[in-house]
Amino acid sequence: MQLSNRTKKIEPKPLNFWERMYLPVIFQGLNITIKHLFKKKATIRYPEVKRELSPVFRGLHILKRDAQGRERCTACGLCALACPAEAISMLSAERTKEEKHLYREEKYAAVYEVNMLRCIFCGLCEEACPKAAIYLQKDKFAPAFFGREEVIYGKDRLVESVTNRAKVGLDQ
């Protein structure tokens, strides 16, 4: 079968004496192999040794708290608006007087979900956030998952813990 008229027929040249012996090419190949024995290894022993991540690496999302431990997110929806993959969704609620120590603004995100299957880790949400609330961590990957119900990250997994503060963005 011919796909186009531009097919070229190639006639192999007959091999000369050295080529018929095969030994020179075998030694040539062995030479390359032996050279590589003394070169620096390209691989690392992964779980024990880890590669350094780029300073602009964008990993797992985190919802930051402010210095007093209040949630910064005010559910303005700009991250969801900026998200090209439409991975973020939220529901807002009004803060009551008793909750003043929990949320910084009078409105807060009652539900905040990031679908990690959709997320492409572009970091546009981080750029859009006017309250410096959402960050993509520089040292944490989104973990692999075994079921689809684990993929949607709610506030329970996104909000920073009060005791173990994460270092992100300008903090570093």
Binding site: C76, E94, K107
Partner: protein
Amino acid sequence: MAKITFDGIQIEVADGSTILQAARQIGGSIVPPAMCYYSTLKGTGGKCRACLVKVTAGSEKDPRPMPKLVASCITPVQDGMIVENTLNEEVLSTRKSIVEFLLINHPLDCPICDQAGECDLQNFAFEHGNVKQRYEEERREFDKIDIGQYIKLHMTRCILCYRCVYTADQLTEKRVHGVMNRGDAAEISTYIANSIENDFSGNIIDVCPVGALTDKTFRFANRVWFTKPVDAHRNCDKCSGKVVLWYRGNDVLRVTARKNEYNEVIDFICNTCRFEKKETSDWTIEGPRKIERTSVISQGHYLEGTQVADFTKRVAQEQYKNIDDLPVQPPRQLSPDTAR
């Protein structure tokens, strides 16, 4: 009829109409922005100074320029008048200052505000304002007030455009709210915390150019740009019943009156339609509302005729540099063979 020239465009308008009305007859990007003027309400205008224009020739008989910039929404046209808006550097720089002035006491809490996304002040500041503010002093603050069952007043956000006062004056018989005190202390208030119980009181939410008067039934329910506007109507004995329903999924989150391209209500609607009819079964759906492509509300609706907002074009034009170190290559002729 009076013949005027607006930004180099000649137009004939009826005597007694204002410069702003003439500009709106031309339409497009040359129309001055307006924060307080409302075409359907009498007596509005002249307060926010957003629509200032330069009159370079007063009239045919007296072609001297007007000494100061004039508010186009209250200045009547005269035959032979020449007006400059977008062509005049002075107008544009003044407008920047006006934005700065309007934002002096504005809290800039757009991430919280329910008006964000359809806010006149937001658009105005985005189009004409500076990125930075110089104001460092304390802004005035007020407590939030519930006026009536359905309306919340955030006086902090108010820019004192008086639109809601005119609405109450002209739509209803007994107005119970107004502007109290003077100057810096001026504020919109109900007389001794009187609640507004009138059937058309909800319209002051629609006419408010900022988020000072907001719908309590929609308070923090969702961002405007995540809701889907749908035109609908119902038989109402009090008003025309022509509204826009704002859907999120199958829920009607909010009902508003229909607005024209300048964000002005066409038909005022009653409180029953606005606050109490929030079921799809109450309405006859006409179809999705057309939203300008440049509006944030149209996000996520991938329609044809996508337009880039003016702002990005303007920035690109400002930053564009001619690179002339390479001779321009003539476009290569593609023969059918190489084109394959």
